[in-house]
Amino acid sequence: MVPIEYYLLLSAAVFCIGVFGILTRKNALLFLMSVELLLNAANINLVAFSRFHGNLTGQTFSLFTLALAAAEVAIGIGIILVLYRNFADVDVTKATTMRW
């Protein structure tokens, strides 16, 4: 059985890649993909600890996280579509008129 620390390190690496993507990317689609990386890092943790404790709660919860990610992507792509219509670009830094 693979030690739990390996899964946690993998999860931390995926999470940090997602954080890096959010901090550096300007393209809204890449932004959305980075958020998905964060969610999937959490999923790795849930599944790993589910296996570690011999309980299925984590795996079942990760399925709900996936469903929530799908909902988030549906709304996110809709927002990106409106962003493109209004600014002819998907660069999140160009949408300055939508600021408070």
């Binding site: 940090c16 709660t57 079942t60 709900f64 709304i75 809709g78």
Partner: protein, 133 residues
């Protein structure tokens, strides 16, 4: 080194530092002994099904019930679908244009057409664009 490289250097260092902190914490932490696999003779997939609908089965792998969460997620997904459709459609000369209808531009005879959700622009303006086929 370009400006873009310099702009992503600090976030890159922050991400690597975050990974370092997390790695040190994970490696030094004690998680106890693993359970050594799942108890119960049912498969993982079947047991997830039982857990999702709060069905008590003697051979299922132990888990909590998720029926309320299942219903809440169903509502959230439905709302997300409605929100995505609401955001994706737009007005074309007073008519709602959806993804399944692409002939609105051919029947558009108005002087102005709606280019954004917030207002109209002239048809010959440079800002207008064709977002449909």
């Amino acid at each position: 080194m370009t400006n873009q490289d310099r702009g992503s250097l600090l976030p890159g260092l922050a991400a690597v530092a975050l990974f370092g902190v997390l790695a040190v914490v994970f490696v030094r932490a004690s998680f106890g002994d693993p359970a050594g696999g799942f108890a119960g003779s049912e498969g993982v997939t079947a047991s997830i099904g039982y857990a999702m609908f709060n069905i008590a089965h003697p051979d299922a792998i132990p888990s909590e019930g998720f029926l309320v969460a299942f219903l809440l997620i169903a509502v959230v997904l439905d709302a997300a679908l409605d929100g995505a459709v609401l955001l994706a459609r737009r007005d074309e000369g007073g008519e709602i244009t959806t993804a399944l209808r692409s002939d609105a531009a051919e029947t558009d005879t108005t002087e102005e057409r709606v280019a954004t959700d917030g207002g109209t622009v002239d048809a010959d303006s440079d800002d207008t664009q064709e977002g449909h086929n």
